[in-house]
């Protein structure tokens, strides 16, 4: 267990190194500056020790010698300033660039992850990884750079300087060093696990908050505010407790290493004094030693502090790498021609979201170029699933979907999707202006084209009444537009893009019938010569379809034209008649 965890940590560390590779030039420069900083910093105790030795007692102060040393101190201090400043700035640059790169990589992976994965994963958790975890990672990394390098070098430098002054006293320090490291390592190892627990609990709370705040209105309507509070309190308590553990445990490092260092300081004091009595070193040299013993303490404190911080950073990086390394969606290489005829077939398709619950079984049909295929049936029959398969948001379990005679799995996804235009029941608009949303499928459209599409979709009149017309900025989730208005915008978006094949999944479900009728003309014009798949409840709109699939519980029970199906007098006929029976009549 222990080994596995540390293997995983090493692996993460290796990946982080990979991220740093492009910045190796800067890293080198940063290292050089760190070296400069350390050397100049360590020279100060030596110089002040020398100064002390120039003033051995009353009337015995060597002023010219003292002044020379003080001048040296000034020069060295200037050196520290310059090296440190350059180092800090480089480290900032590297850290923030690497964090940005990490965020971008994770985000880019989201763009190619299978839709199935995105549907399945918790969105709150992903957001928390890319935002919060990346931030924690950046904090840890920055601390690592600024303090780890200088810390290690200070330790090495200090030992070097001490050896130079007096080997025996230096040995006292060196022998005690492993104790300090051991303690730090022990604590760091333990806190890594606690930090992971904290990350997990935070992710869960974030997820909960996201749901309850988004649905706050609903929570209030249900009178569920009190209960939501209770649930929140429970989750908050869990997080508070795991945070307490992680924070307290990791904060033990500092006092512990400081303790070890105090011991080292005492040991140096005694050993140094004894050597000084024997005449081995001067008081000034002892002062330098004590200065080092103190300086020696700091890097250990820092390194251990950094190590715990780095553990946290690594835990966060691990969560980001998990996204970055997730399998991208498989993609075919073949491209469809510029203009497709629009022949679409399903052959013996089996599909289910959950292997345990069979959904679509042995579905076959053919849509010839320019035909309209309507999919009808009660809710939950699997109508939207067909759309998922056509667009290849999901892959079939068995059988194949063919477009223009080619299995769509051989096709480049972008090439396939570029031939489809779709309006879904669940409207989605980006936060941005209406114009940006409309131009999504055709960024180069002219103003006239855009307005024409909006007019055709009967969206122009309400857009014009918005505070800034087409430049009105939509808040996330479409802001205060009604469902119907959002749907009209989605239709306008499609009408502007106008690809060769269309998918309309309940495209007008939130639009009133009068507006719907008015749009029908535009729809008919659009559908002409374009293979179209329609999912609809209002059977009236699909009467003219070339092929109607009647589905129930994932199975296509009937297929044929409106006339054929009515003659058959089966499920479809029953459904159709039910719509034109009015209770009052």
């Amino acid at each position: 267990m222990q080994n596995k965890a540390s293997d995983k940590r090493n692996e993460t560390a290796k990946k982080v190194m990979g991220l740093l590779r492009p910045y190796s030039g800067f890293l080198l420069l940063s290292l050089l500056c760190a070296l400069g900083t350390v050397v100049t910093t360590l020279l100060i105790p030596i110089l002040s020790g020398k100064a002390i030795d120039h003033m051995t007692g009353q009337g015995k102060v060597d002023f010219p010698g003292l002044v020379l040393v003080l001048k040296q101190i000034a020069v060295v201090a200037a050196g520290t300033f310059i090296f440190q400043l350059i180092m800090n700035r480089i480290n900032n640059y590297i850290t923030y660039s690497v964090t940005r790169n990490l965020r971008q990589q994770a985000f880019e992976k989201l763009l190619v992850q299978p839709v199935a994965v995105i549907d399945r994963e918790s969105h709150g958790d992903i957001v928390s990884r890319i935002v919060t975890d990346a931030d924690s990672f950046s904090d840890g990394l920055l601390l690592g750079f600024t303090q780890l390098f200088t810390g290690i070098m200070t330790i090495i430098g200090t030992i070097g300087f001490m050896l130079q002054i007096r080997v025996s006293i230096a040995l006292v320090v060196i022998l005690l060093t492993p104790v300090s490291l051991k303690v730090a390592k022990f604590i760091a190892g333990r806190s890594y696990r606690m930090f992971s627990a904290q990350s997990r609990d935070r992710g869960e709370l974030t997820e909960f908050l996201q749901e309850r705040i988004t649905l706050s209105d609903l929570v209030n309507q249900l009178g569920y505010r009190e209960k939501t509070r209770e649930e929140f309190l429970e989750k908050n308590r869990t997080l508070t407790e795991s945070a307490m553990k992680a924070t307290f445990y990791s904060s033990l490092t500092n006092p512990s290493t400081r303790f070890i260092n105090a011991l080292i300081y005492a040991a140096v004091g005694v050993a140094g004094s004894l050597v000084a009595i024997a005449g081995g070193i001067t008081v000034g040299q002892l002062s330098s030693f004590l200065g080092y013993a103190r300086e020696y303490a700091r890097p250990f404190n820092e390194i251990t502090g950094v190590v715990t911080e780095m553990q946290n950073a690594m835990a966060c990086a691990q969560r980001l790498f998990a996204i970055i390394e997730s399998k991208p969606v498989e993609n075919g290489t073949e491209h469809l021609p510029e203009k497709v005829e629009g022949k679409v077939e399903m052959r013996h398709v089996d599909f289910s979201y959950d292997p345990q619950v069979k959904l679509i079984r042995d579905l076959s049909f053919t849509a010839r170029p320019g035909e309209t295929v309507a999919i009808v049936g009660p809710t939950g029959a699997g109508k939207s699933t067909i759309i998922n398969l056509l667009m290849r948001f999901y892959d079939v379990n068995a059988g194949e979907v063919r477009v223009e005679g080619r299995d769509i799995r051989e096709l480049d996804r972008a090439s396939l999707r570029s031939r489809y235009g779709m309006v879904l029941q669940e409207t989605f608009l980006f936060s941005g202006t209406i114009r940006e949303n409309l131009m999504l499928g055709k960024p180069k459209a002219t103003e006239e084209e855009m307005v024409a599409a909006a007019k055709a979709a009967h969206a122009h009149s309400f857009i014009r009444r918005l505070p800034k017309g087409y430049d009105t900025y939509l808040a996330p989730e479409g802001g205060s537009l009604s469902q119907g208005q959002k749907q009209l915008l989605c239709i306008a978006r499609l009408m502007l893009a106008l690809p060769d094949m269309l998918i309309l999944d309940e495209a007008t479900s939130s639009i009133d019938t009068r507006t719907e009728i008015r749009i029908q003309d535009a729809f008919h014009k659009m559908m002409k010569g374009r293979t179209t798949f329609i999912v609809a409840h209002r059977l009236q709109t699909i009467r003219d379809a070339d092929l109607i699939l009647y589905m129930e519980q994932g199975r296509v029970l009937e297929q044929g034209t409106h006339r054929q199906l009515l003659e058959k007098n089966g499920y479809y006929a029953k459904l159709y008649r039910s719509q034109f029976v009015t209770e009052g009549a």
């Binding site: 971008q104 929570v219 948001f393 019938t513």
Partner: protein, 577 residues
């Protein structure tokens, strides 16, 4: 600052003990150079090895006591900071819970979530570090100065110059970076929004193949974030070098003054060593502090953002004292009702008047954007109306408390939504003591019984986030069941059967009309067939009442209703009526 202090106040014991123990720790540390000076001046000068050994024992003792004291301090500071942070999260979340719909729309949910998670986290770290260091550090700094003054007053003058200068540097750096960190947080929020949008809109992004555009926009946002971080870092990067330089020059100054003092015999060599030691002790302390200033500046920026939320009045709606029941017969009465959304150019509703008797059914029909949903929102007082009167059971809607509204009104929103959990859990959200029987009954009324019956775990079937494992129609029916389970006096269905097929919808409508407790029903729909059997039908057009009456009356004299009717049933149907 005051914000954090308020919360730490709840953990007064810990918040006081932590810095107190830190100070104890500092005292023990400050004694060390003095002991060392004694070792040099007494032990080495008189070559007394026994004395040196004793003093060494003192040093070890100081270290042990220091360790115990330090761990205690860490514990108390962690406890105070983390529990206070927990309380902040609680308060902010509860406060957000009181936000009205309008307020939430205005603020956006993404930013609220980051504030509770990210910002509170920053504040927590800030408080923890503050307790640990911000009292200890001045104590060490001034303590070192005091000790130095005890050793030699003239030399302490150097401290008097260096320390204020250091203070000034710290202050200037904090002051100039604080606004920059606010900017960084704002940009971070943009990044958050971008990520969550790309998850929610994955189908649209893939379908329109705008992955590249999204990638570019994200790159632009993260680049901007990086630039802002580097900008703040530039100032921050000055802190350590300046501190080092000042201290090193201070050491030079002390050595210079000590030289003179030793020459005249005022100072011993051991004391000079102690003075240098104190100066470098300040350095060590300030370097630690400098690393934390970054944290603290950020924490302050975050605390400001949290305060902003807590200061925002969550509920801008007005309440009225009104307990008089004018008329028991009418369930709803609207007189010249007007409404416009905040910042909206147009009025959403103008002079809407109608009334509905108890136990009756009102159908509302009209085009997209005609004001149907706005009317419903006013009915449950989600917004304040701008003018006119709106009475519910004879009382002004503004006079009902939200708790009462919840009790009386069962509302099924346009966009069906379930909470993550199980079906049972969702039904219990509406009625916490519902029995198994009541649940099945509600499901049956909502035509949702078969959905649940087909599930492996029945009522305990899981509901994923956004109910993504249910189809639109299933979600709608489950949402209706949830509204029915508490048997509300007024049932509002806001186009909540749009994803249902006609057959199911018809069955649902029939059930609604025969509910045993005879609720008053407001039903919004796009379809004439859904509302035609209602007792009263309100036809809305661009926020105005275009017609109000029964199906027959409206077919007679409301042109718009006739049009809607004919688009659904054909011209002949209208004539036939």
């Amino acid at each position: 600052m005051r914000f954090a202090a308020k919360y730490l106040g709840d953990y007064k014991k810990e918040a006081i003990l932590a810095p107190l123990f830190k100070m104890l720790e500092a005292i023990f540390e400050l004694l060390v150079p003095l002991v060392m000076a004694r070792i040099i001046d007494v032990g080495i000068a008189s070559e007394n090895r026994g004395y040196i050994a004793t003093m060494c024992g003192v040093l070890v003792l100081l270290a042990v006591v220091g360790l115990v004291v330090a761990i205690t301090a860490q514990y108390f500071s962690a406890r105070a900071a983390i529990y206070a942070a927990g309380k902040i999260r609680e308060d902010v979340f509860f406060h957000i819970g009181t936000f009205s719909r309008g307020r939430l729309e205005e603020m956006g949910t993404a930013t609220l979530v980051t504030r509770i998670t990210n910002d509170v986290n920053q504040v927590q770290n800030g408080m923890n570090m503050f307790l640990r260091l911000f009292l200890r550090s001045p104590f060490i700094v001034f303590g070192a100065m005091l000790m130095a003054a005890l050793v030699d007053l003239t030399s302490a003058l150097v401290f008097c110059v260096v320390i204020p200068l250091l203070g000034l540097v710290v202050y200037l750096v904090m002051k100039s970076t604080l606004p920059k960190y606010r900017q960084i947080q704002i940009q971070l929020e943009k990044v958050l929004l971008r990520v969550s949008e790309n998850l929610e809109g994955v189908r649209v992004i893939r379908a329109f193949r705008v992955e590249n555009r999204q990638k570019k926009e994200f790159a632009r946002d993260t680049n901007e974030l990086m630039n802002r971080q580097i900008g703040a870092g530039k100032i921050q990067a000055l802190l350590n070098p300046v501190t080092y330089t000042l201290i090193n020059l201070g050491i030079a100054g002390i050595l210079w003054i000590s030289g003179g003092a030793i020459q005249t015999g005022r100072l011993s060599q051991g004391e000079a060593v102690a003075l240098v030691n104190y100066m470098s002790q300040i350095l060590v302390e300030l370097i630690k502090l400098a690393n934390l200033i970054l944290l603290l500046t950020r924490a302050m920026a975050s605390a400001g953002r949290l305060e902003d939320i807590l200061k925002t009045a969550g509920d801008e709606r007005s309440y009225k004292e009104d307990t008089v029941c004018e008329d028991g017969e009418l369930a709803i009465e609207a007189r010249d009702l007007c409404f416009s959304y905040m910042g909206g150019r147009d009025t959403a509703l103008t002079d809407v008047s109608f009334s509905l008797g108890e136990g009756q059914m009102l159908g509302i029909i009209g085009g997209t954007g005609s004001g149907k949903s706005s009317l419903v929102r006013l009915l449950r007082h989600a917004y304040d109306r701008t003018g006119g009167e709106l009475l519910l059971w004879g009382r002004d809607v503004n006079s009902y408390r939200d708790e009462d509204m919840v009790k009386f009104i069962g509302h099924v929103p346009q966009k069906a939504n379930l909470l993550a959990g199980t079906i049972r859990y969702n039904l219990l959200t509406a009625k916490k003591d519902a029995t198994e029987e009541e649940m099945w009954q509600a499901l049956e009324w909502a035509q949702a019984r078969e959905i649940v019956e087909h599930k492996e775990h029945q009522l305990d079937e899981p509901v994923l986030k956004n109910a993504s494992n249910y189809s639109g129609g299933q979600k709608q029916r489950l949402t209706i069941a949830r509204a029915l389970i508490k048997k509300p006096r007024l049932l509002i269905l806001d186009d909540s059967a749009s994803a249902l097929d006609m057959l199911t919808e018809r069955k649902l409508r029939q059930t609604l009309l025969s509910l045993p407790w005879k609720p008053t029903i407001v039903l919004i729909s796009q379809r004439a067939s859904s509302v035609m059997s209602a007792d009263r039908i309100l036809v809305l057009e661009d926020g105005h009442v275009a017609g109000f009456g029964t199906n027959e009356e409206l077919l007679e004299d409301c042109e718009i209703y006739r049009q809607i009717y004919s688009t659904q049933f054909g011209k002949e149907a209208v004539d036939a009526e």
